[in-house]
Symmetry: C2
Subunit: 224 residues, 2 copies
């Protein structure tokens, strides 16, 4: 495998990936970058530590991605946004039926987590944490495409009398995330806390749907 | 205000707080430490940066708390665990009634968040994040006193036929956190996403109770 040509001569999409290169290596480098981002945070992850994690030289990483900003951008465009695309397709196929929208969102997040196990911890570190490096991406690229669309459709269903009137659709979307992405992110903590080996994703998804569907069927004095 | 006596001569509980000192300053220094822990993380917060945030010299901080480990320990013992005590008292007074337990937990977290607004972001950074500095405290000191107790009591209520049989009490406790502490931690993100000025804590608590009580009243195909 050859060593890098200076990345300054390679710009834009597809930079550093001439036809003769191994696409598998590029993907493996992205995997290594994501693993490092999850472990120490995007801000603290050095190109050198990512290269070490991938078993390549920093020059090789540089050759494929250029600088760190472009590596982060590649992760967003090639890994994060495609996952979002899966969710968008789910919402699309659910139309305006509130039950299908909610079930589709919950199962969709479950599928995305299964195929992108790095996503919940990265979301905690880079979106939920103050100063997270992906907050702007979340606000500008993710929010308008999925959570905002879901909230709008649920509001329309509510206006049509197809959903309880006392649940704010925006807070409901927040709750859906709190019942799916949050438990997945917290699974390592919960597993130790409750001394269980694994919290199977499908068990968590089924639980979320059961709870969302009917609640605990107790009068909890929620109305203020 | 005097400058520090070497902290090496002051050890154990109450170290660096002789009778003649100002207790308010000690509390203000703890506030500054917590603000810094929330902002950059416990691991990355230097005594110097905390002192700067409090407008005192590092020597003064050193005089009150000794080294950073002892400062973190003071934060845990004097701020974190008392908040936990509030939650324990709530559970105690709820007895074995599942509705009172769930409502007490949700409202209790709401109260704790109102009086300890630093708690949700600190929990995200130091418990939810991989490698968080408070994971051990969570597992050893928090979990047995509140989440585990709540899960046990809900399991007993379920066994007595007072709660739906198809909701795992442990997953229900996780869901309660996902509907309370998580939205509070994510509020800055949600506020920008949905373009609302504030997500009032009492509105979020009422929403959580309404959702928990009856769900969205739609068939979501939760049972696998």
């Amino acid at each position: 495998m050859h060593k890098s040509t200076p990345p300054s001569r390679r710009r834009g999409r597809g930079a550093g990936r001439p036809g003769g290169d191994e696409p598998d290596l590029r993907e493996a480098l992205l995997d290594a970058a994501i693993a490092r981002f999850v472990k120490v945070g995007i801000g603290a992850a050095s190109l050198r530590s990512i290269a070490t994690g991938a078993g390549v030289t920093p020059a090789m990483l540089h050759y494929y991605f250029g600088d760190k900003d472009r590596l982060v951008q590649a992760m967003i465009e090639e890994r994060l946004l495609p996952a979002l695309g899966q969710m968008e397709a789910r919402l699309q196929s659910a139309g305006n039926d509130p039950a299908k929208l909610i079930e589709g969102f919950v199962r969709g997040i479950g599928d995305v987590i299964s195929s992108h196990p790095w996503l919940p911890p990265l979301w905690v570190r880079e979106v939920l944490c103050e100063g997270g490096a992906l907050r702007a991406v979340m606000r500008e690229q993710v929010a308008p495409r999925v959570p905002a669309v879901l909230a709008q459709r649920l509001a329309a269903a509510q206006a049509a009398g197809r959903m309880p009137a006392d649940l704010d659709p925006r807070l409901l979307v927040m709750s859906l995330v709190g019942l799916t992405l949050f438990p997945a992110a917290g699974a390592p903590v919960w597993q130790k806390m409750f001394d269980v080996q694994t919290l199977q994703p499908d068990v968590m998804i089924a639980h979320a749907l059961t709870l969302l569907s009917r609640g605990v069927q107790l009068d909890l004095g929620g109305r203020t």
